[in-house]
């Protein structure tokens, strides 16, 4: 079924992606990620000494600070911080630097739909830039489901108009030198797992599974993009000081 989208994309097209690493000078790692008009800036400081009061000192701790574009931080920002923290806790190797805190600061530069997925992607890129040990990367995508068909990467208008949408985070696809070397959990390759899923609105079970399928396919494309941009950056890194 053909769907008419405002900016002329088809239902399977993502917006133009752009990302850059190491844009801030004081932060240990920084990255910016933009999908169409949505742009998010992420900075990482860490590992810093000590953990917070209620955290386990035998493991590394992650702290997320979300700064909205305008206005004061409210419940929505706290929710984003919590989701981001839990997502990143599952991909970082916490046993390497015990009793340390890594702070991730997210700054929203512009919000035009799919804000949380962009922030997760930017945070992963910033963690890579800072050299924080991770098991694998997380790729986030936003899908809107409506009675049998799924629209990927909606703009803010599309998110508001549609009844239900889902933010999905998958582990990134693994390229392995050995043919059987790709990580698998109980027979299924690791990229079929879901790290995080946040849904808004009501959708049928079938719609949700359809979202997962499309989301997974999109995450493969995003993984490729991420891998290409990281490799390109490391080969032509000739910056002074």
């Amino acid at each position: 079924m053909e769907v008419d989208r405002e900016d002329g994309r088809t239902q399977n097209q993502l917006r133009p992606l752009a990302c850059s690493r190491n844009i801030l000078h004081r932060a240990h790692g920084s990255a910016s990620w933009s999908q169409g008009d949505t742009k998010v800036l992420a900075a990482v400081y860490g590992p810093k000494a000590g953990t917070k009061k209620n955290e386990n000192p035998e493991k590394a701790c992650i702290e997320v600070i979300w700064k909205p574009k305008t206005g004061q931080t409210g419940k929505q920002e706290k929710e984003y911080e919590m989701i981001l923290k839990r997502t990143l806790l599952s991909i970082c190797i916490l046993t390497v630097n015990p009793n340390t805190t890594t702070s991730i600061i997210i700054q929203v530069v512009n919000d035009d739909g799919a804000l949380l997925p962009s922030a997760i992607n930017a945070a992963c890129l910033a963690l890579v830039d800072a050299g924080i040990p991770m098991k694998h990367l997380a790729i986030a995508i936003c899908c809107v489901a409506k009675s049998g068909y799924v629209i990927l990467d909606p703009t803010k208008l599309e998110e508001q108009k549609m009844k239900a949408f889902a933010y999905l985070v998958f582990p990134n696809s693994v390229h392995s030198v050995l043919p059987e070397g790709s990580l698998s959990v109980q027979g299924e390759p690791i990229e079929h797992g879901i790290i995080t899923s946040v849904t808004h609105g009501t959708m049928s079970v079938d719609d949700y599974f359809y979202c997962l399928d499309r989301g997974r396919a999109a995450s493969v494309k995003l993984s490729d993009f991420l891998r290409r941009s990281l490799q390109q950056h490391s080969t032509d890194s000739s910056k002074a000081g």
Binding site: S30, K39, I105
Partner: protein, 310 residues
């Protein structure tokens, strides 16, 4: 408590002595001369009223938004201008999230004084219905990277954002003319703000040797200097504000020298801001012409047992 001390950044004694000795021969550690400003880059976001300014390594983002509110009782015919400064923890490892510290408050006050008391932004044109509805302009300044001299960079970001901001047009309606109708941007073109002049903040750093004076200190120099002064001047030669809060005492002739230097620099910076705004306005006008979206979007193919999506 120890955790916080361990994370704060301190300049070593050797570094401090090196900076001071180099200044005696008029050399600064980043290769500039004492009265040279760093390179300023002004960029704008997609929406009206969002600017990003880079002053050397310092990076500041400015966002302007507007809302219809009730005016203050003692000024029923004037709009409201408010400035919020966010020292984001991403700018410096010693910035803590939460309530703004004294540096953030001081920065906000300097910029506020420069804009408000010099009447650079015309608040009377922001009045819609006297006593009932006026526009409240809110400027959010996000400090993203602390490379020194945050005041100047934040000031330029605020000015650039104000010059490119457009507020929706509104008209009075209803039976008794007391209702305000705000027109959406697609129906009526939003209006720019009336800015009479641009107050530019220029910061000077003083060192313990009386005759050493630098303009636009970096954060290394800020850790060494013993006094600072921020002068807000405009290109016409008017002094809008001067802030010298404590620190090393300086003789009068040094202050006069600073003011002359500041006026000279302000002319150059004003020109740069205006040129950047011109470029943005041209781009904005071009964007208004409907164009077919460029096909740089990424296509995602479905799984093989389903039909190929385009």
């Amino acid at each position: 408590m120890e955790g916080r001390l361990a994370n704060s950044w301190r300049l070593t004694v050797n570094d401090k002595n090196f900076i001071k000795t180099a200044l005696l021969s008029e050399i600064r550690i980043d290769g500039r001369k004492p009265y040279e400003y760093r390179k300023i880059a002004i960029k704008f976001g997609r929406e009206d009223g969002s600017s990003e300014v880079q002053l050397g390594q310092t990076h500041v983002m400015g966002i302007v938004t507007a809302q219809l509110v009730q005016p203050y009782r003692d000024r029923p015919k004037e709009g409201i201008l408010s400035i919020y400064t966010e020292f984001s923890p991403m700018a410096d490892p010693s910035f803590e999230p939460g309530r703004p510290g004294e540096l953030a408050v001081e920065l906000g006050r300097i910029i506020d004084r420069g804009l408000r008391e010099s009447r650079s932004v015309d608040t009377e044109s922001l009045c819609v219905l006297a006593g009932k509805f006026v526009w409240a302009i809110r400027i959010d300044l996000h400090i993203l990277d602390n490379g020194g001299n945050l005041v100047d960079a934040a000031n330029i970001a605020a000015l650039a954002a104000l010059l490119t901001f457009r507020r929706p047009e509104c008209s009075l309606g209803g039976e008794d003319g007391q209702e305000v109708i705000v027109h959406p941007p697609e129906i009526r073109e939003p209006l720019p703000l009336t800015v009479h002049h641009l107050p530019i903040a220029i910061t000077f750093g003083f060192f313990s040797n009386e005759s050493i004076l630098v303009i636009d200190p970096t954060h290394n120099e800020e850790a060494v200097m013993s006094g600072r002064m921020t002068t807000t001047v405009n290109a016409n030669g008017d002094i809008c504000a001067i802030q010298k809060a404590g620190g090393e005492g300086v003789p009068q002739r040094v202050i006069m020298q600073c003011l002359q230097l500041a006026t000279a620099k302000a002319v150059g910076i004003t020109k740069q801001i205006k040129e950047a705004v011109e470029v943005y306005n041209t781009e904005r006008a071009l964007r208004k012409i409907k164009r077919h979206p460029t096909s740089t979007s990424v296509n995602v193919r479905e799984k093989q047992n389903q039909s190929i999506g385009k």
